[in-house]
Amino acid sequence: MNTADQYLKAIYLAQMIDDGPASTGQLADMLDVSPASVNEMIGKLEDRGLADHEKYKGARLTDEGISRARDAIQTYCIIERFLANVLEVKNYREEARALESVIDDTVAERLDTIIDRRPECPDCFDPEADQCECLVVEMEGKAD
């Protein structure tokens, strides 16, 4: 997942949590980057027609941005499910966040063929918990 997709996903989830535009500070916290980096990327997303930015309010995704963000959440959900239920990783959320930038969509699609993802994905993604609310972890007590 590239950097732009990570931002789109964060804006989408922030909008869901607050039911309004995503503030620069909130995005900086979610993505663990500086506010200046957030503003720079939002400018790029605006130029590409993926987000609108209103001063003092924050960023809002356009329809195209929403579509891209939903794809990114699906990719993330695949990575989380794969780590949790195939590799049986206990800290699957932390690891998914760490690895999402290295795992391409096409690779995630392949991993998707051996996991059990819900057809309603990504609507079942819980933005507060940062994971799919339907994810049932099938641990057998291995992997750290």
Partner: protein, 158 residues
Amino acid sequence: MSVGESLGTDHQLARMLQIGIVLEEVVEARASKHVETIAGETNVEQYMESAAEESARHRDRLEGLIADLDAETVPFEQIETLVEATYEADDEFDDVLYHQLCNEETAYKFYDDLIEAIESSQTEYSIERERVLATLREIRSEEEEGVEEVTRIMEDHK
């Protein structure tokens, strides 16, 4: 979530290698199933068999790297079971080749991204970086050859 940071620890590198092993296991299990589907097409059958063998070799090489990083791997039987559970047999000869092409292309893309991430990381892994990169570059090269070979076979069957 971390933006712009990747593979900052031994653990993350090991995890990516584990994912590589699973991808190889998927290729191996599917190629073996495809051999059953396309019985009679000698050159394709031979290719599928060699693809399965190549994936097994790649797995061994990745497992060798992981062993030095002190991380566990997922048993092939477990992946085989998952692949079996989700596998839908392709009746059409073209579908078999198309899926094989996707598998090879995905594997190539995976190794390409992984190599790039390691090259751009400043982390000192407990395993020699050049050894990891050399192994991954060789595997990537074989995946590239695999893509070319499947494409050739598809062209021949047009």
